[in-house]
Symmetry: C2
Subunit: 940 residues, 2 copies
């Protein structure tokens, strides 16, 4: 896939000049010594954009009883200390924080900081709004958050503020798609801290902690090549050298009049560490990360001792020492590695799953907080709609008949939600609540914008009601009105057909489209078990279901009228059906168990055996002879590799197959008339814990497909990666956790296949999953745990809420498609995009024509007053479709009906650099060394 | 008593000009508003000169695992932050730390700091080397440490650096003598934080938290009058307003775009606190101490929020608010109180004992760490000797035949040891070890100086051996030599007679004085129980005892020759003697119990019944229905008010009466030929704890004296204060701890008396004690505790050492004198000074004549190259002696044989101001209000 990034400029006024691209940034790297071991000290702080505290609490330093951390003070302090000694350096990473701080500074302080940036004394690295999670984020949201952060830096500091290095020191495993995106954003290199402990051990032996990551099998090298360095000590300073206020290591005591003069001891320890570290890296340059979580709040402590360290260590050079210490930054360090002109081991797989010890697999967070994960995904869809309608409706969208609206609030909320302790689900409960609240607030702002935009585009300012709680079948308007109309907006650049489910209390309705033509519809009861509860709470008890068709970037409107009120339809008990089918698919059920038994694609005439059931793993409580590690927000560790089956089942209805597994696990199996995918709508919760057992609930699909031990998962929703049970492509795995060690992030889809059949499962949120048995694919749906996993959160992952005080109930959808492997992507690519960008609103038709199937409209967003950011994406991997993997040409000039394209300029992926000005370091991969990697161009 | 302070200037060169005394210090107090409530915010840090960490660890911020604290960073940070906003203020207190920091600064930084001081933005308060303990320190050492700190400030900053306010925010009770000293040092006022909770409650009701302390009954007011203010909140900020890095209170979140904007809430809470506080003080000015232990290491956090607080609170004045907040300092606050021109409650007693709750009496530290307390007291004596010999020997003392020596190391060690967690015994064990180590190091430096000085004065450079371990009867020279000479130096300004006890292994010796005249001597065995142990360790088994006579500021030399070697004298078992006596005293023992039974003064023909025994209180373990407070380093809390008796006893020898109470308590009762005092040399330890009971060991003297419930203790070794059981002079006491609540510090002596008899006990270190029964006086000797008392030390007070792994053994002396009350001081004043300043060395006679008995040579110390600091003290209280309380005239011109006095200038007590330039605020005491105080001029 090719990511195109373009600026579309509508009619007058003429475009503003681009930001200055050739900037005089002072060359600021300290000189190194070629015949010595050069130790690059990189002072840095790692500022989580929310974790134990909310992002705003972190900024101000509120709730220091939870964790001592105040970013405002960090930036205050670092700037002060940089000014005290021009040799000092600092890097800053998270623009979400920097932006907040910057806007509170006086103009003279801003000028001071600009000077520090121009002189390279303060360097931005990474520079996105946050340091995104790599397992559970969708690439579109990652690109958005990176763009927002980098744009701020570009506009504030120009080219000197543009990060050259990506810096993911904390995320718990690393996605190939992230590396690909970083390459396309123009980064020269990438550093991270966490990787599998076995992988690290091998790489240290082989001096392969520096490598060249070939991060796409579709893009021509070196487009997606990224030099990658693994930091020596996570992101912490070497042991004994932490001089932050949060550390207890001895400061350098250089006054001989006081007790415990320790300069000799400090220097000796430092030299030993440096020399040991040099043994496992290739060049005579090594890096030391001098900082950690929320450090440098009192930067004086660090710098005062670092100044002394440099002075005393280098002082020994006159005494034949060959160690040279210097203040440095990742880009200065990277420059030296590049100058070394060596070849580097090539890597084409990714860094999942991450284990830091034999029984400590960080695969739980792939699923943790499934409700938040889903809300984040819906919010992304809403944000794209909001962005598009801001462009399409013009300035009146932001200030119109419904008041002031904006997309900025939602953009920030989504950017923050990409943080590696946000959508990952690894934050404290109150912080998870804050992320959700921010997204909800973003959506409030977007609703005004959308209403304004719709008014301008439709010419009608009649009020629009948004039903945000359809996920729990709540919408007072539809539940109580006898007559209403529904508009559905489609944010995709191609027409879609979509089932709409509206909460109603009547038993019969008529539905007609905008031309008055009747549309088939049905009223189905909300699940029986909850009907009484729902009625008592004033919720609707039925759902009205019909299919809508919506044009590309357009809307359609349907009118609904009540025919019959009164008592709800008697839920007629039918015998379990054995078959449901439409023109595309046929699904059979076992008449004895009511379980799925086969799936057939009627078009391709293929059929597989397929059974599905729900299970739960008993989460380890840490009481175990092998390891005391319990399951928690980060860690997945089942007590036994055999999950408990939840139940046999009976199907209840005809229209849809409703499967009841237990009071807390149910499922509706649906086959819509126009759909090629089978929908499994699962509902899990409240997960019972009265037996004092933590539970990790999965669904497992068992098929007749001969998978060997292979299966496939996506990387951040884009490219697919091959996975193999108990195997890692780049080292000899010693498997210690047969389940957790075989879990991978499923961001948007997973599939299993053999020569003839491919079963693809598209998910509606990030989940974790694996293929433990031949022909089997399991996906973790929900987790309720009773112990903290001792990774800092200090809370068990045990979600409740106001409306679910007994435990959170989560509902979601899996879309299954069965295809021939060579054409499976033709189905799952558009299907997954439909799940990511859901039809939401009400409109006309603003694309003159649908885009070709291979091209996905990733971004359409107002950039500034006179320009628009458009991202078009080739969404097929090079090998995955005969038809759709081909290059495509799109005529942008006539694409939009409401926009006249005046001109366009291509930028890099993150829109902070003109594409043709993007210059990256070139790196040479090693040939024939190291362990062989997987073939690049096709998956087995 | 009158303290005279003089500079004696020896012959050429002429004296250097004095430091500039009229300095232009910018008037820097912020304007206040007369019709508003003015809230003085005083940013401050409280930096213990050793407590949980050593003083050097605190300076550098080492061992932050114990406690996060690094003073170097505090000063760095505060200076930075003061520069950022000229409105900001800071005070600094402990010169021990400031001095260390100052000498590491660049000259430009020093210039910057001078500017801040001159502009009053950085103000020194208190300014001594440390904030001394008030219960366990001797006034001479306090004066020394204050002088050292204030001298540094004077020499560095001139008059702008001279503290106007004394500031004892943490010491655990307050001594009247401290207030008297502060007044004589020129302080305008005094603030502290801790006082009895009942006292505080009454003072809040009566608005008497500001008072005029008339701190001497001998000095004519207002010489020792000191305005004293009690701080509202200890020394902490009001609740919810601690913005240090060590605190968790919410910062001011004034960005409406972020969550939890809290300006309105903060302002409202602040106004409420200010208005409540104003209710319990007299003026429309109140103070808030914005800081605490080791705070301001990252001063930005404090100041950023204080800036905002001031802005937002004062912003409401335009909206009719009557609260005015300002940055201030204690002297600015004091100035406003003085301007108020009110009258203030008068107080003449002191603030002991201190209880912060009904069962939490801070009376344990009066005795805690008795070995350290004694070592500190000996060190003071050694330091005075060192100082005197530096003056007498001239410059060659510092650099002479024995190398480089100095008194400075010992001065600093002693100054540090005065800290309220040093000699108090309330530090962690490793810190106590550090104080002792520093004193030992000081003494090493002094020994070289003394050797040099002696060589110059005597004309002989023969090597001198110092026996520092005589307290455990160890001196290899005397133990192994057949012939040696002993010189004894007398640091007192009058001749003394002193018993010398030297460890020997022979059984008979001859001793002769410098003229060859034989001197009576005796060989006595070291206590039998330990003889075998001693021999195994190579220690001497006998002691050679003889009386030496030493001239004022001079020495005498005695020659010793072995007569008989061989086996030690058989310790002949005698019957318990019933009487020992000399020409002054007669002591009888009960033949059945071996206990003391009476004491008679043969000169005055007075006799009292006197029994003495040893007991221990069972220390509370906190397991108690009234309170969970255990006994600990600070707190004394016996489980029961009835102590356990240790044993009946048998006396063992004739010459001295050796009393064995148990394997861990023994005593030698001695009556030297020329002494008017009876010596009780007690040995306690290892206190057994195998019964899991903490023990607080006392000795109790029970007499026939009719004391009512009165007894008397000294204040810092100077004036005597009357104590009464279950009574406080200034409030209606509700006694909740019948023992601990009746304990007072005994710094150098205590006495009980009736109309005819006064029994005075002179101690050799600070101890705690009380009079619980009529005629009885008990003194706590040793404490071994099994629980921490939860005042921060986090260690039980359970001392062991290398040579006492089973528990520390402590030995000490009580000197008892029996006199008629009107003349008792004539005996105990010189006696106590002999204990404080012990004869130590070897010399001639450098005072031309002894000083009159009323005058004590307190200080004779080299001030700078050409001048000498001399302090002469009238050591009698005005009422305590018919003879010696009279004024005295001394001719200084001819006092010293080796010094020609060229000129002299009188200074204040702390030598940082010319006496005639000392100007202090005048304050008016209230008349006839409040609770009546005790009569000032005589004690009952």
């Amino acid at each position: 896939p090719k990511l195109l990034l373009l600026l579309l400029l509508p009619l007058p006024p003429p475009p503003p000049p681009p930001p200055p691209l050739v900037f005089v940034c002072v060359q600021s790297c300290h000189a190194t010594k070629p015949n010595m071991l050069n130790v690059h000290l990189v002072p840095h702080t790692h500022d989580d954009v929310g974790w134990l505290k909310t992002v705003d609490q972190y900024f101000y330093g509120d709730r220091n009883d939870i964790q001592h951390a105040g970013v405002q003070y960090i930036l205050d302090s670092v700037v002060d200390q940089l000014l005290k000694n021009p040799d000092r350096r600092f890097i800053y990473v998270e623009t979400a924080f920097f932006y907040r701080w910057w806007k509170q500074q006086s103009s003279s302080m801003q000028q001071t900081v600009r000077q520090l940036v121009n002189e390279g004394r303060l360097e931005f690295v990474n520079g996105g709004w946050c340091m995104s999670d790599e397992a559970t984020t969708h690439y579109s949201a990652v690109i958005d958050q990176m763009t927002m952060g980098l744009r701020f830096l570009n506009e504030t500091f120009g080219a000197c503020g543009r990060p050259r290095v990506a810096w993911h020191i904390d995320p718990f495993g690393h996605a190939r798609e992230h590396a690909s995106m970083f390459a396309q954003m123009g980064y020269d290199g990438f550093f991270f801290g966490r990787l599998d402990y076995q992988d690290r051990a091998r790489r240290m032996m082989a001096k392969e902690q520096e490598l060249l990551w070939r991060a796409s099998d579709s893009l021509t090298p070196p487009v997606a090549d990224l030099f990658t360095g693994i930091l020596p000590n996570g992101y912490n300073p070497p042991e004994g050298f932490c001089w932050d206020q949060s550390c207890d290591d001895p400061p350098i005591r250089d006054d001989p009049d006081l007790e415990d003069y320790n300069v000799d001891d400090v220097v000796k320890r430092f030299m030993a560490i440096a020399e040991n570290q040099a043994l496992v890296y290739k060049t005579n340059h090594i890096i030391m990360t001098m900082g950690s979580d929320f450090q440098y709040e009192n930067a004086n402590l660090w710098y005062k001792n670092l100044d002394k360290l440099i002075r005393y260590v280098n002082g020994l050079q006159s005494n034949s020492s060959k160690v040279n210490v210097l203040y440095s930054t990742p880009s200065c360090y990277l420059q030296e590695l590049h100058r070394a002109n060596l070849t580097w081991a090539l890597k084409t797989d990714d860094f999942f799953p991450y284990a830091d010890s034999a029984h400590d697999f960080w695969t739980g967070y792939f699923t943790s907080r499934p409700a938040l994960k889903r809300y984040e995904r819906i919010s992304n869809s809403n944000l794209q709609t909001c962005n598009q309608l801001e462009v399409l409706g013009g300035p009146v969208s932001r200030k119109g008949p419904f008041g002031g609206g904006d997309s900025q609030t939602m953009k920030k909320a989504m950017a923050v939600a990409q943080h590696h302790d946000a959508v990952s689900g690894t934050e404290k409960q109150h912080v998870a609540n804050d992320y959700a609240r921010k997204l909800a607030s973003g959506w409030q702002h977007c609703q005004v914008l959308v209403s304004n935009s719709l008014a301008a585009l439709s010419g009608s300012s009649s009020e629009r009601i948004y039903c945000d709680n359809l996920n729990i079948s709540v919408c007072p308007l539809t539940a109580t009105s006898k007559k209403f109309s529904v508009s559905v907006y489609n944010p995709l650049a191609r027409p879609v057909t979509w089932p709409v489910r509206l909460p109603v209390n009547g038993t019969a309705y008529t539905v007609s489209d905008a031309n008055g033509k009747p549309v088939d519809c049905q009223v189905v009861p909300v699940s029986k078990a909850t009907q009484e509860v729902r009625r008592n709470r004033g919720f609707a008890v039925n759902e009205l279901v019909f299919q809508v068709q919506a044009p590309p970037l357009g809307y359609s409107t349907y009118s609904v009228s009540l025919l019959q009120d009164g008592s709800p339809p008697t839920s007629t008990q039918h015998r379990t059906p054995t078959v449901i089918q439409n023109k595309f698919l046929k699904v059979t059920f076992d008449p004895d168990t009511g379980l799925l038994s086969s799936l057939s694609n009627l078009e391709t005439q293929q059929s597989i055996k397929l059974t599905q059931n729900f299970y739960w793993y008993n989460a380890s409580d840490g009481n175990n002879s092998l390891s005391i590690q319990p399951s928690g927000a980060y860690i997945f560790r089942p007590n036994s590799s055999t999950p408990f089956i939840i139940s046999r089942l009976r199907s209840l209805m005809v229209q849809e197959v409703r499967q009841w597994f237990s009071p807390w696990v149910s499922q509706v199996v649906r086959l819509y008339a126009d759909s090629r995918a089978l929908e499994l709508e699962w509902t899990v919760g409240p997960v019972p814990i009265d037996d004092s057992l933590g539970k990790e609930v999965i669904t497992r699909l068992d098929t007749s497909i001969q998978t060997g031990e292979y299966f496939y998962t996506d990387s951040n929703g884009r490219e697919m990666l091959q996975r193999k049970k108990d195997f890692r492509p780049t080292w000899q795995l010693k498997q210690s956790e047969p389940i957790a060690g075989n879990y991978y992030p499923i961001n948007s889809r997973a599939f299993i296949k053999d020569d003839v059949d491919q079963l693809t499962v598209v998910t509606d949120r990030s989940q974790g999953g694996g293929s433990i048995h031949n022909g089997s694919l399991e996906i973790m749906l929900h987790r309720r745990l009773l112990y903290d996993d001792v990774r800092g959160v200090a809370e068990p992952l045990n979600e409740t809420s106001d409306i679910f005080p007994e435990g959170l109930v989560v509902r979601g959808r899996l879309l299954l498609s069965l295809d021939r492997p060579p054409s499976a992507a033709d189905a799952h690519r558009p299907l997954a995009q439909e799940v990511v960008l859901q039809p939401k609103y009400k409109f006309k038709f603003w694309l003159q024509a649908a885009l070709p199937p291979a091209v996905h409209l990733l971004t359409l967003s107002q950039w500034d007053k006179d320009s628009v950011l458009l991202r078009l994406e080739h969404q097929f991997q090079s090998w995955e479709s005969k038809v759709n993997s081909q290059p495509v040409t799109v005529n942008l000039q006539k694409l939009f009906s409401t926009l006249d394209v005046l001109g366009m300029s291509e930028l890099n992926l993150s829109a902070n650099q003109w594409k043709d000005e993007m210059k990256r370091f070139d790196w040479t991969p090693q040939k024939g060394t190291g362990r062989p990697n997987l073939p690049l161009t096709s998956l087995q």
